[in-house]
Symmetry: C2
Subunit: 111 residues, 2 copies
DNA sequence: GATATTCAGTTACTTTTAGTAAGTTAGTTT
DNA sequence: AAACTAACTTACTAAAAGTAACTGAATATC
């Protein structure tokens, strides 16, 4: 196997984990709590928890606890995470230009 | 659940399938055949076949058969596929700026 | 003309990851 | 002390990925 750039491979591995892109998109406009993301995305609590833990470990997001009642825990992008904004924006722009209405409809039928 | 843009969701779903990013990266510098991609990427024939079929269906790549001996089948990006170049480039640039040598090493140890 | 070679896949099977739903914990509030 | 809330976990099932051996078509070689 040819050596691809290992950093690039690592980045792709991260991005190709389901929900990561949408979670980052959610956090682009500021910090969010667990329950907000859970209700705004079609992801289950189990996986959301797993992904947030992983993204925190990769230092892409940051977890902050506020000891109020009820406890408030907020997630937000670090600088490393914010640096992914151009990636998200490019995907967004591609999808607007190239993903057709029809394709989206076909996918809906499968559900 | 809030409605995200369905086109964006669709694009993310595509991109978050394992190996899609690396396959597209491979095809950025021209057409490739099955065996080339198989040897240049750490992906098995089974999945490569599955992904190529899927990308062809999405009209992101194009499959061409040349009846020589032995048969030559080449895959290349369509315009829709080429339009993904900025996405790949942004991921590449992010990985160069933010993925550390250490992170890559830690991942290697897991193997 | 039987045997071997090459590319491009398939098939059958195991392991890992994702999805679902119910349960847990800590700190209130009533 | 019973009930509520946010943020998770746990236990279980289903889907996707990984592995390795096999197939098929078109030559080429003996």
């Amino acid at each position: 196997m040819k050596e691809l750039c290992p950093r690039f491979e690592k980045a792709m591995e991260l991005f190709s984990k389901r929900w990561v892109g949408l979670i980052l998109f959610e956090l682009l406009d500021g910090s969010k709590r667990f329950s907000e993301m859970e209700s705004e995305l079609p992801i289950s609590g189990r996986l959301l928890s797993e992904r947030l833990k992983m993204l925190e470990q990769e230092e892409i997001i940051e977890r902050n606890i506020y000891s109020e009642f009820p406890v408030r825990i907020e997630y937000k992008l670090t600088d490393k995470g914010k640096a992914l904004e151009p990636v998200i924006k490019e995907i967004q722009s591609w999808s607007e230009n190239w993903v057709t209405h029809e394709e989206v409809e076909v996918d809906k039928e499968k559900e």
